[in-house]
Amino acid sequence: MSELSKLTIAAARDALKKGEITSVELTESCLAEIEKADALGAFVHKTPDIALAQAKAADARKDGGDLNGIPLGIKDLFCTKGVASQAASRILEGFKPEYESTVTSQLFADGAVMLGKLNMDEFAMGSSNETSVYGNAVNPWSVDGRKLTPGGSSGGSAAAVAADLCLGATGTDTGGSIRQPAAFTGITGIKPTYGRVSRWGIVAFDSSLDQAGPMTKDVRDAAIMLRAMSGHDPKDSTSADLPVPDFEAALTGDIRGKTIGIPKEYRMDGMPAAISKLWDDGTAMLKDAGAKIVDISLPHTKYALPAYYVIGPAEASSNLARYDGVRFGRRAKIDAGDGITEMYEKTRAEGFGPEVQRRVMIGTYVLSAGFYDAYYNRARKVRALIKRDFETVFGDGVDAILTPATPSSAFELGSMTDADPVQMYLNDVFTVTTNLAGLPGIAVPVGLDKDGLPLGLQLIGRPWEEADLLNTAYALEQAAQFVAKPDRWW
């Protein structure tokens, strides 16, 4: 029954409900695939005992939700009770939370099965999954035997879904960390509106930008999983007290009369021809489906990444102040005569990798006395302008915005090692604007480049209108008919 792990969530749900398969069979199929896939570096803490116990309980349950018995992978950023939750950092070595994140609690309440924890960039800081303490996650897609990045930070989630190790996975997205890896691996990933999904129990990186979301094999699965993850949580003061629609019910594929904006500022200098063509193709697909295409302008786009690299590190430096070797995680060995300051400094030097150290220090700098207004407050004002750009086009009647998801297809692991950190940051150029503006964004696989690697497009929607956004994505998916799968090498 090794084919079962290839099912979509929707197909597995329907087969489970009809009694054609059991969750135990489905879960065993995924666990067997995981055991054969260590070369992908996707699952970093496997939890087969928990998975099988949850699968048995799901099979016995009569009133489970849509995810009853569905095996999922969970990004290592989510705190899971009694199971290592390290944010892929050395500083959280040995940390086993005494509590369960709201998202995983809701997934389990719906009946979902946890296969294990998934690789990621350390504290979600990275675009290639190369900053992880566990080592790289590897893209199941490969060219000429070269090992490619699955993207980041949710690289393990993307690799696991693309390689059919699980039916779906949780991701988190601060600047593009769901959408960029989804595009690099030919899967679907949605970052919902800020506040749609509770952040409680997810290791905090940039509190005003972080949102969790599903990474799945298609748009329908994203709709199913997002519904289970969403909802108001009194434990997250920024979570929205709004009803959660049945996102799947919105998937009609009918987008006639919708207005799709094409922002001219996203057509960057030096954009590869393959990306440019993909974008044009996607535009034509939506037009053929009956949407009205309009050219729009989002004039502050080019300032999104610089603003992000002030606000992000500033919030990260505050959030990561808690890792001090006192309350949880790892403490450095100290020398005779060392006081508490040396303990902090050694613990943080040993526990944080280079990218995390870099961002914590940049954040410390931009928040330090004398620079706060020049950097941090200015970036927050620019953020307000970026948000206003979107409000203006939505006010003019645009329903969704179509852009590329990434500036390239997946690149080779190690190829950015000697590059300036800013070069890596440019991966988020198309995705980071929605985090700053709090808007929902979804990446959908649309085509292949000349090397046969997947490429994705992004749709950006109005706040709280994920249902409409998912339906537009569904129409794009139906038109694109992306069915390619990676050739198995692992």
Partner: protein, 95 residues
Amino acid sequence: MSIDIETARRVAKLARIAVPESDLPALANEFSAILGFIEQLNEVNVEGIEPMTSVTPQRLKRREDVVTDGNQAAAVLKNAPDAREGFFAVPKVVE
């Protein structure tokens, strides 16, 4: 803006990260590159713009100021690198 070694040393100290003296020049260079990138923000006219504080205009939820949780000392201390007699233990702080 160029960051000198002295500034890099000061920032590392403020961030409570031990950085060996030999790594400071490279760190200062990286900071300079990132801050150079950030400098673009100076091109934007932000006159009269209020800094963005929340993504959607909503009043943060209020709740009664009552105890909702507690008596979990063992759980709180469970992951501490050094916990003794119901306390977090750290190196000596005062002489």
